[in-house]
């Protein structure tokens, strides 16, 4: 090998080693971000759960001696215009927002996976009917429908809980149906049929366990959207009503004082971002593990 060749050889080997290290770093980074996401969710969930036990003023206790106090040791997030502790209210708000978001997400997942599996498994007119409904639900502007449902029940949580799953199931149905179409043709499904297992047993025992994973991974991403949605509706005054502490509501109240007391709106907001980031990181890692971009598969 010539002298030129030898130096090129070294260079190339160094480059190859770098590529290898980068690959290792990628995998490590993926695990790190999964861990980070879980930690962020756990931190916020834990704090909201143990909020009543913390040495903080109760979320609705007004203290006119300490209004619009900036963040301090005794009031980590400061106080609002009537002297309520914003940190305490934020944690209490989590006990409203997070369960609602989880509830509406799991309702959507459950309905969507069942209908999608059914459409893919049975086919024929059932499939056609369900998929036509999916088309309509997906074409519907989500937020507008939820607001329309809220208009029926009046402002409050009920409208959100009914409205979101009404449209939300469609994405999961589409995801699950395409998974089911793949699974249905697999050997083990045929084997189950050959063994004379009933269709229902084949569906529940053999097909469902194999198709729920993409839906679950995507639901991680959607929890974020639903947290944001619940907070947004309450911010607009259409969701959870004051004085119940709720993230969107706290931020809306704080907006009036944004010029003098920036902390009332932005600090609770940062908690929303932390939870959202946590679920997004977990969702991305889950999608990575499944090896595809589910956001695209769903759209």
């Amino acid at each position: 090998m010539s002298a030129v060749g030898a130096s090129m050889h070294d260079l190339a080997l160094r480059r190859l080693a770098r590529v290898r290290r980068r690959g290792i770093r990628e995998r490590r980074w993926m695990h790190l971000s999964l861990g980070l996401g879980v930690a962020m969710i756990a931190l916020v969930v834990l704090a909201t759960v143990i909020q009543p036990l913390l040495p903080l003023p109760s979320p609705n206790t007004q203290n006119y001696a300490a209004v619009l106090q900036p963040p301090s040791f005794s009031h980590p997030f400061g106080t609002d215009n009537v002297g309520r502790d914003v940190f305490s209210r934020t944690l209490a708000g989590g006990r409203i927002d997070l369960p609602i978001a989880l509830l509406i997400t799991s309702m959507s997942v459950l309905a969507g996976v069942c209908l999608g599996a059914l459409a893919g498994f049975i086919g024929g007119w059932v499939d056609a009917l369900i998929m036509r409904l999916v088309d309509i639900a997906i074409a519907f502007p989500f937020m507008i429908l939820v607001i329309a449902v809220i208009a029926i029940f009046g402002p409050g949580v009920k409208g959100v809980i009914v409205g979101v799953p009404l449209v939300g199931w469609s994405v999961y149905a589409r995801l699950t149906r395409s998974e089911m179409l793949v699974v249905r043709e697999q050997e083990y499904m045929l084997a189950a049929e050959v063994l004379g297992l009933s269709r229902r047993r084949a569906l529940f025992k053999h097909a469902l366990p194999n198709i729920w994973r993409p839906a679950l991974a995507f639901s991680m991403v959607e929890v974020v959207l639903n947290i944001v949605l619940v907070a947004s509706l309450s911010y607009l005054g259409l969701g959870v009503q004051p004085p119940t502490p709720e993230w969107g509501g706290i931020i809306a109240e704080g907006q009036q004082y944004i010029l003098t007391a920036w902390w009332i709106s932005t600090l609770p907001g940062s908690v929303i971002v932390i939870v959202g980031l946590g679920f997004s990181l977990v969702g991305d890692a889950a999608a990575d593990i499944l090896g595809r971009d589910l956001t695209l598969a769903a759209s």
Partner: protein, 354 residues
């Protein structure tokens, strides 16, 4: 037989392309580097065709890509030299490669459907090369494009310029690809399985076209194929690759009639068995027992040894270097380097000659 130039025509003093010890590595999960091409050497004369054959994954495509600077990430050329008309290609900068590609070295791909951009017309993509690589103005490029399409055997060329790739048949698309490849008058044409994706009837036409253009333009050509019958039709020289190594090299007739390496022998026998019936290279190669080894986990010594019927214990120490085994052939086989395989029928006399 398709118009093949007489291989006895006197070779130029300096080969058009001279590849020496080309090695291409890919990183693996462990510290080791998988060598997709290992110490590959060959030469191509102007106006001649070299056939590069072997099973899929043997390193023939990646070798071809190294010659046009397009080894897929994360692969790297880790050593060797490739001189085109005396100029070193390996180690060129990105910018230098952009000037070499198209005008010195061009390439035709396996699937003409996926190698043309589906959203631009044929004329757009052909004129693009003419304008950028040959500096033609818009109108000149257009008339030259018509001339080129006509030249590669596309009828009503002028009206075809406005067609999108999906409106053409597979054979037509490959003709367009060829027109684009020769548009900037390259010295070396690389063809990666150019007929594999085409109908059998069209295959011969495309091969004939490549052969004709090579003669007219005095280009050197490298044809990568897994199909020995294709190689036998159009090539002057042949290099057989196995697990990243060239295991046998020589004039195509000599190698196919008197294969020295046991792997080549297996390939040639398989083709002979299938000839007359549907001689399908892919199937022919399968008749060799066993699987090629994984590049990241090569057996010690000769990597073909586990599948070889002449295997000896010493083969596990053999470093697979090429050595002259007949007057015209180079072989990387310990057994053959000690005792060449006699030519069938007339073998005994030939052996005495050597």
């Amino acid at each position: 037989m398709i118009g093949r130039p007489a291989s006895e025509s006197s070779p130029a003093e300096q080969p058009l392309l001279s590849v020496q010890g080309l090695s291409i590595g890919f990183p693996t999960r462990s510290e080791a580097v998988a060598m997709a091409a290992d110490e590959v050497s060959f030469e191509v004369q102007a106006g001649h065709t070299l056939g590069l054959v072997g099973e899929s994954g043997c390193g023939k495509s990646v070798t071809l890509r190294a010659l046009i600077g397009l080894v897929a990430y994360p692969g790297q050329v880790v050593g060797g030299s490739a001189k085109l008309e005396g100029r070193e290609l390996l180690g060129l900068s990105q910018h230098e490669w952009e000037r070499v590609r198209g005008s010195k070295v061009a390439m035709i791909f396996q699937d003409p459907m996926s190698s043309l951009n589906p959203i631009y017309t044929v004329g757009n993509q052909l004129c693009e090369v003419l304008r950028l690589k040959r500096g033609l103005r818009r109108e000149e490029a257009r008339s030259e494009a018509v001339r080129l399409l006509d030249h590669v055997g596309i009828r009503a060329a002028a009206s075809r310029l406005r067609d999108y790739p999906h409106q053409l048949s597979g054979g037509m698309r490959q003709r367009v690809m060829i027109a684009i490849a020769i548009a900037a008058r390259p010295r070396l044409l690389l063809a990666d399985e150019p007929t594999t994706a085409l109908d059998v009837t069209v295959q011969d036409q495309i091969l004939a076209l490549i052969a004709e253009l090579r003669q007219q333009m005095n280009m050197g050509t490298i044809l990568v194929s897994h199909d020995l019958s294709v190689v036998a039709q159009v090539c002057d020289e042949i290099a057989v690759m196995y697990a990243g190594r060239v295991v046998e090299r020589g004039p195509v007739d000599d190698v196919l009639e008197n294969p020295q390496h046991p792997y080549t022998e297996g390939l040639a026998e398989a083709v002979a068995q299938l000839q007359g019936a549907h001689a399908n290279g892919r199937r022919a190669l399968k008749t060799l027992g066993g699987q090629p080894p994984s590049l990241s986990d090569l057996p010690p010594g000769c990597s073909f040894a586990p599948r070889c019927r002449y295997r000896q214990p010493e083969c596990e120490q053999f470093d697979m270097h090429l050595q002259r085994s007949t007057a015209t052939q180079l072989t990387a086989c310990l057994i053959r380097q000690r005792q060449p395989r006699p030519r069938a029928g007339v073998g005994d006399e030939r052996e005495a000659v050597l």
